[in-house]
């Protein structure tokens, strides 16, 4: 209590009974003497009015609803076991602008995110990237050139057209070479029908382990040039992407491996619910 109110035994008593009086818990003679002092004392009277008003102001403040993601965040930061019943629908919260924006963003991109995290998507993306990079290297685009690339739409269009022309030219050249080669071979066969395949040709292909006839190998080779995508796809090197993707899903949920209880329980978050 402020010092200035302590100017008599009655005032000290008044102060002692103030909380009970404000909350309506005084009765009988106690209440009467309290009321009498309140009416007559120039300090205790106004004080009573202020305390009462302050209490009413405070009680006019209603409980605020915490943001819906709070429980989720708490669980993630403590047990790491993220709830199945967090964020009840319809729960309204005093969400700061930043979080509201994030929620809005998530509502649009969470399904996309879930899709992107699927191994199927990662595989497909890997394929596209792999074949894309092969196509670019076949077209003669080097990684060092990329830094110099201008990103204006017109220059992108030019670059695309140039690359397309290069690819077409390259393909045409390759086809032209093979056509000539096969013509030459035909002519040779026509000239020496009974002769077996020339000796030096066998020597050239002594590293050949496929056991295929020369002609088949050429055909395979030409297919590799023309359709590099298939050659890349069938390789097993793309498949390891799968475990990486599912690990990424669980990793960011095991936030802050918490103290003793987490070690005790050592549970792993079920990631499926959150993303799918």
């Amino acid at each position: 209590m402020p010092e200035e109110t302590k100017h008599g035994a009655n005032c000290t008593e008044f102060e002692a009974l103030l909380t009970e009086a404000i909350e309506g818990r005084l009765t009988g003679a106690q209440k009467e003497s309290f009321e009498a002092h309140r009416r007559t004392c120039g300090i205790c009277g106004p004080l009573f009015a202020e305390v009462q008003a302050g209490r009413e102001w405070l009680r006019s403040l209603e409980a605020v609803e915490p943001p819906t993601f709070l429980v989720h965040n708490i669980l993630a930061a403590t047990s790491g076991v993220v709830s199945t019943r967090v964020a009840a629908p319809g729960a309204l919260g005093t969400t700061p602008r930043r979080e509201r924006l994030r929620e809005w963003w998530d509502s649009w991109f969470a399904p996309l995110n879930a899709f992107v995290r699927q191994p199927r998507f990662v595989m497909s993306f890997g394929m596209i990237f792999f074949s894309g990079s092969l196509a670019l290297s076949a077209a003669g685009v080097k990684a060092s050139d990329v830094a110099k690339v201008s990103l204006r739409p017109s220059s992108i269009r030019h670059a695309y057209t140039d690359a397309q022309i290069k690819v077409v030219k390259y393909y045409d050249n390759v086809r032209f070479v093979y056509e000539i080669e096969s013509k030459v071979r035909e002519l040779k066969r026509a000239a020496t029908p009974a002769e077996p395949a020339p000796q030096e040709e066998k020597q050239n292909h002594k590293n050949d382990t496929s056991g295929q006839p020369q002609e088949r190998q050429d055909r395979n080779y030409s297919r590799e040039q023309g359709d590099t995508v298939l050659a890349g796809l069938n390789g097993s090197e793309v498949i390891p992407v799968r475990p990486v993707a599912s690990d990424a899903g669980t990793a960011d949920l095991r936030i802050q491996g918490c103290s003793q209880p987490a070690a005790r329980g050592s549970r792993v978050v079920s990631n499926n619910r959150r993303f799918v």
Binding site: R59, S60, V64, P66, T94, T95
Partner: protein
Amino acid sequence: MDEAQVIGLLVRRCVGGDAAAWEEIVQRFHRRIYNVCYRFAGDAENAQDLTQEVFIKMYRTLNTYDSGKGAFMTWVTTITRNLLVDHFRKTKSERLTDSLDGPASEHEDAQPLSDRIADQSRGPDEAAQSRETREMVHQALQKLSPELREAVILRDLQDMDYREIATALRVPEGTVKSRINRGRAELARLLQRTYRQVI
């Protein structure tokens, strides 16, 4: 089984490593703790951080909770209060400069969304008035000293009894009552001054 027994059981299960029991504790107490933090710290962002800190602290020290020594809510309030006091000390210098710069910001966050929706049905004038009033009370509360602020929050907003508050704040019951009355009176004076300025 009464409330205290239910909580006691939940705590034991949680200490035994039961994640569902911990989630139940979080679900039961997060609103209350968030509200104490929000009214003490003044803004939603700090309230979220502080609430999370309270639960992290609780999670680490849950095995030290002794139901024989008092109600779980009192124990939780003690943890909350200690973190709030630490927070206040850390941000004290910022607060001093804040008060020189004028009224605190984040007005829109002081109003629960549910209220804004409810307000719309009450008519725009009345709704705006009650919203402004609550905002003023909330801002005035931030101007009280931390001792008075925590006392009135626990009594008038959280409805804790004097004995519980005394235990949580580690002061005698008489001191609690005195702080509550001083806090209420101080708030009324601040609001009367604000009203006079507005009118």
